[in-house]
């Protein structure tokens, strides 16, 4: 799985879904008729789980799943002509989707193949704190060339994600983010809706100018620091890292200038992000992958906001069920057509195929349905009824400037 591209994964899911939904046939039609008649399989949290501590020795337990993730610098094409240098997991935007079963022991070999520092934070997963990936808080950052092994038992089930936690506004928003889907046999969403296809949409925002400037600035600084590190000359004050607040105060007293002061901060804008590109799974409209559905089919869509902005996602022509937030099922599904999602959040929805056509699904904060300020583009994709496309050919045209 780790080596597979997101596109391959999506294609695999789509093919399987196509076969299943084709087999559904008349039964699927029947389901569509019973709109709103679901019985929500009651969902209860188990007793508070004790978080198991991964043993230090490698062979003390058997790991059910093992993944290799490398951070590399990739020239990623968001759109024809828009190629951005990005920090990526395994060269993919977003990173590879990790799918495990609840309760499985997971081992992730994380190797840093860049000249910058990184970690992985498992967002929304109850890991032992030493594997939470917050640099200088729970672990030392992973240095260039180093490998760090993250170990945890997958819990709780649901749509969760992972991202780099070093220089977060820069690295996470760059492309160091990906989905970790923890599956459960007791999933009330699966039990209730019997969906046949399962999509993951990672929502992204990119400030191409900031990414480029900050990336160059960091690389120049780090090339020098790597030499200093090798020769034992890299001290805390150069890195702006201190043992504790007292040490920091002492440094300031002795004339060390904190990097946030205007006399020291020479960058023009700092982390003043102003995204000009918006994407779903590493592509901006019209290059986004459509959501495929058939009449009578039910699909699940997992939304992960890996960017810096709140989005307000609207689906045309349908009422969908909002079923989970931050990976956790809601007490009761809610019927809606516009769903907001904050940075860091995940939200799951279920779409029933009862209104054949081509329907846009997009951020209703319409400034994000743009490419570098030109509408339409950005965070927009289509819900496509496959049988229509098969019968009449794909009808929608591509418009780039309205």
């Amino acid at each position: 799985m780790a080596g597979k591209t997101h596109r391959e994964e999506t294609a695999r899911v789509s093919r399987r879904g196509f076969l299943q939904s084709a087999a559904l046939g008349a039964a699927g039609m029947l389901l569509a008729g019973k709109l709103g008649a679901y019985e929500w399989k009651t969902f209860e949290w188990r007793e508070k789980e004790e978080i198991p501590i991964p043993p230090k020795e490698d062979d003390a337990i058997t790991y059910d799943r093992e993944f290799n993730i490398e951070v590399v610098t990739t020239l990623h094409e968001l759109l024809p002509g828009v190629r951005l240098h990005m920090l990526t997991f395994n060269g993919q935007v977003p990173g590879p989707e990790i799918r495990v079963k609840e309760g499985e022991w997971v081992k992730v070999n994380f190797t840093n193949k860049t000249e910058l520092l990184h970690t992985i934070h498992w967002h929304g997963v109850d890991v032992y704190y030493e594997h939470d990936g917050v640099p200088y808080v729970t672990q030392k950052p992973v240095m260039p060339g180093q490998t760090f092994v993250y170990k945890f038992r997958a819990y709780p089930a649901g749509t969760r994600w992972y991202h780099c936690h070093f220089a977060t506004p820069f690295h996470m928003a760059h492309a160091m983010h990906g989905a970790i889907i923890i599956e459960s046999d007791d999933d009330p969403i699966k039990k209730t809706f019997q969906y046949s296809r399962d999509y993951t949409l990672v929502l992204e925002t990119f400030d191409s100018f900031f990414l480029r400037d900050e990336f160059n600035r960091m690389l120049e600084r780090m090339k020098q620091r790597i030499w200093l590190m090798k020769h034992g000359k890299l001290d805390g004050r150069t890195l702006a890292v201190f043992k504790n607040v007292q040490e920091f105060l002492k440094a300031v007293e002795e004339g060390w200038i904190p990097p946030y002061l205007p006399e020291r901060n020479q960058s023009r804008e700092g982390a003043d992000l102003n995204p000009n590109f918006f994407a779903i799974n590493g592509k901006s409209y019209p290059m986004t992958d459509p959501l495929l559905i058939r009449q009578g089919e039910t699909i699940r869509v997992r939304l992960i906001n890996a960017g810096e902005l709140i989005h307000s996602l609207h689906l045309h022509g349908h009422q969908f069920w909002w079923v989970a937030v931050d990976g956790n099922p809601l007490p009761q599904p809610i019927k809606m057509n516009t769903l907001d999602i904050a940075p860091g959040q995940t939200k799951d929805i279920v779409i029933e195929g009862y209104n054949p056509g081509y329907w846009t699904f997009h951020d209703h904060i319409t400034t994000r349905v743009t490419n570098n300020g030109i509408y339409p583009g950005g965070m927009l994709t289509l819900l496509v009824y496959e049988e229509m496309a098969e019968r009449d050919g794909f009808k929608p045209m591509v418009s780039l400037d309205q």
Partner: protein, 398 residues
Amino acid sequence: MKGRMLMMLTMLGGLGLPAGMQAQEVRPRITLGGRGLVSLNTELARWRGNQETELVNDFSDTDLLLRLDRKLYGVNRGQVMGTVLGFTFPDADSRLGQIYFDQAHVFWWSQGWEFLLGRTRLENFVLEFPTLRDDDLVDYAYVLNAFTDAPATEYHLYGNVARMTFFQRQARWMERIQLSNLAVTDSAGNLMDRFGVQMASVEIAYRLPEPVRFTGRIRKAGIRYDVQRVDDAGDALLHAITAGLDLNLTLDPLANWELRLQGSYTPGLDAYRSATLQQRRDLSRVRSFAGVVSLSFLRSPYQVPRLFFALTGAYRVYPDQNASRAKAVAGLFYQVGAGMDVGLQYEYEQVSGGLQGLLGFEQSHSLKLLLAFEYETMFNDYFMDRETILNLEHGYAP
């Protein structure tokens, strides 16, 4: 030649495009840069000359630069064209007036090449040396303009050029060819309108681009050849060959020692084989050897540059005239804030042989106390320069 570049630009503007063909306005990237550089100069002592000890408030080399550039059409080609306009305040004794336009050119670049047309620095050297002002070592480190007797050092530093530079292997290798229209003056030092090509140059060099300047021992190793066609001396060719080596003695970015070495030789013009040194331009026309060596140290605690000092020695000998000159420059600069320096530079120069009569002194000591303010700010910064780490090492996508 005055304003010729500007006239050309105006003409281009005048040609214009028919109204219907003008594209929608694409704002250029705007870079504003320059420096305020003021020094108090005092000549401590001067022997055998018209000795006058005076305190001069010198603001030459203060300059202002405006660069405008845009990306060209084409999705992935990554080409950029732009223009630079700059002016500086020349030396009081240069007779250039209040303002000198040192930059007025158009450039066009892509990953592997850069073309430049118009007024800019001649770059008639392999290495630049770390002294207070660009012209402190003009008589030692530059291939001098053989067509001027004027006191203005600007005529040796700047010219109108057509320059093509090629870059390979992450821009570590560069080759350059350049045709230059130099300032030509009459014997009284007044500028004459001469539009031809007076100088042709080629250079080949290995170099470290600025963002990776600490990653290797050799910052620059280059060799160049310059030839000037001197038509007032029997249409003869004046050759010069220059080689330079700039070394990182330490790769430590916090305490960086750097050594620069440059040597040059010109065989002179045959007609000047037994000439005596009577005019300034004779200095560039007779046979001479020159060498410059400089040791410098930059201390950057926490990767913030703070202290810089440099010791530079230069020598030029005119063997056919039995004359020579030598100069030592010691500078100490302290950065009091980002791009703001206070500094002190001491200079000693000694001349011998027929040079004493021409230059009017035998030895001189001087001290300069400096305040400098440098700035660069960019507006609408929407593309990436050619020599950034990302473009050099991770695929070209400006």
